[in-house]
């Protein structure tokens, strides 16, 4: 790709009309062309200013009222949710035995069982030193409004256990699960990253997952219903979302 061709695509990118298939070639060119990276930044800046040329329109007062009511409710929930807990040595040992990075394997099954135990623990018992428990009473999205969840996060070990209740069973086809609940880390300003799967706990009513990745830099954790085996990017409906406190 020449710089002239690159400029055509950068202009399209700046106003959001670049055809999806053309991005790969542009990206390759940009990696090796400082001038085009600079030009692209300038054009994008110009593009973002187009929205600002619209004349303001006074919104109905209900918009501010509703928005601030939700913001204040979430602020109250956050301040009561992020509670540091005292240490429990046995928990650290159990936690360290949970294998990481598995999908639906035998190890994953064992991990899910361990996660279930951990979840039961997290709802009742003391947590390791430095662990943070984030309780989100109503985190369900439109498809599962009754969902509640608890996220126990150990920042020292970069591990977390997500436990949810109120989820319905994923779709079943021919006796086998056609869907699974996949957990995503949502980076601030980035694309969702697959992190784990939820496994049904022994009580049948709770779902748990061990997330063996640092939550640092993530703005939220979300769960979507995906085809059995999971997806590389979310395709199904979001069933819950846990906003993470800044600086976690």
């Amino acid at each position: 790709m020449t710089c002239d061709e690159s400029e055509l695509l950068l202009a399209a990118h700046a106003v959001g009309c670049l055809d999806p298939g053309e991005e790969t070639g542009l990206r390759v060119h940009l990696e090796g062309c400082h001038d085009c990276r600079r030009l692209g930044g300038v054009l994008l800046h110009v593009g973002t200013m187009i929205a600002g040329t619209v004349s303001p329109v006074t919104p109905p007062p209900s918009l501010r009222r509703n928005l601030m009511a939700r913001v204040e409710a979430e602020a109250r929930a956050r301040s009561s949710a992020a509670v540091p807990r005292r240490s429990a040595r046995w928990h650290r040992r159990l936690w360290s035995r949970v294998p990481s990075g598995r999908r639906f394997t035998a190890a994953g099954g064992l991990a899910a069982a361990a996660a279930g135990l951990l979840a039961a623990w997290s709802l009742a018992g003391p947590h390791p030193a430095g662990a943070v428990a984030i309780r989100v009473p109503t985190c369900g999205s439109a498809g599962a409004p009754a969902t509640r969840c608890v996220l126990d996060y150990d920042p020292d070990r970069h591990q977390a256990v997500l436990t949810a209740t109120g989820l319905t069973l994923p779709a079943v086809l021919g006796g086998a699960s056609a869907q699974t609940y996949e957990v995503w880390l949502i980076p601030a300003g980035g694309a969702p990253m697959p992190a784990a799967f939820l496994a049904q706990g022994p009580d049948g009513g709770s779902w748990s997952s061990v997330i063996s990745r640092s939550l640092h830099g993530s703005a939220a954790i979300a769960v979507t219903a995906e085809p059995a085996g999971g997806s590389l990017a979310p395709t199904g409906p979001e069933v819950l979302r846990v906003p993470l406190p800044p600086g976690i």
């Binding site: 959001g16 670049l18 300038v42 110009v46 619209v54 329109v57 913001v71 980035g190």
Partner: protein
């Protein structure tokens, strides 16, 4: 520290006061952008609320090295509005490796706003002065969320023509902001 920076800082600390500041400064503009894209008052309300909540929840994070708060907020609202009107749920947008233009470093609200308002006036004026076919191309792209192929089909012109018009329009707009050489269409 400008009022915008203060608002962003308060939001990052989890203070609702930051959201009040941001909304009171830009709620009308955000609503206007959503209304322009969606042409439906109720849908525009929904989108503006979702956009501000995404900012509050940290899903849309402000990067000072990527321009001012106003442009950033408008982009969040515009993208969400486009996603809604085109039936896309929270589409993720991959970032290209660009050298972004940083926001102004002035600590004065007044000076920052004067400069920003002048830039907006220049862009608005330049948009109005663009040849009709270039202006329509930009509006279909920016406010209707059409890809270049879709614009080509809608305007019944070859794809290459759409690309050329987009580039010429952006060159003109860039010229009024930065004093670069502006190449007019033949």
């Amino acid at each position: 520290m400008t009022t915008d920076e203060r608002a962003v800082e308060l939001i990052a600390q989890g203070s609702p006061e930051g959201m009040e500041l941001l909304y009171d400064r830009y709620g009308s503009l955000a609503y206007a952008v959503a209304l322009r894209v969606l042409r439906d008052a109720s849908a525009a309300e929904d989108v503006v609320q979702e956009a501000f909540l995404s900012i509050w929840r940290g899903a849309a994070t402000y990067r000072p090295d990527r321009g001012g708060v106003r442009s950033w907020l408008c982009t969040v609202v515009r993208n969400r509005s486009i996603d809604r009107t085109r039936g896309r749920a929270g589409r993720s947008r991959d970032e290209l490796p660009l050298e972004h233009v940083a926001a102004g470093s002035s600590t004065s609200d007044t000076w920052t706003e004067v400069v920003a308002e002048l830039d907006r006036e220049h862009i608005r004026g330049a948009l109005e002065r663009l040849p009709a076919e270039q202006r329509t191309t930009i509006e279909l792209a920016y406010f209707a969320g059409c890809s270049q192929s879709e614009i080509s089909a809608r305007m019944r012109v070859p794809l290459g023509t759409v690309k050329g018009r987009t580039r010429l329009a952006l060159r003109t707009l860039r010229g009024v902001l930065g004093g670069w050489c502006v190449e007019q269409p033949a």
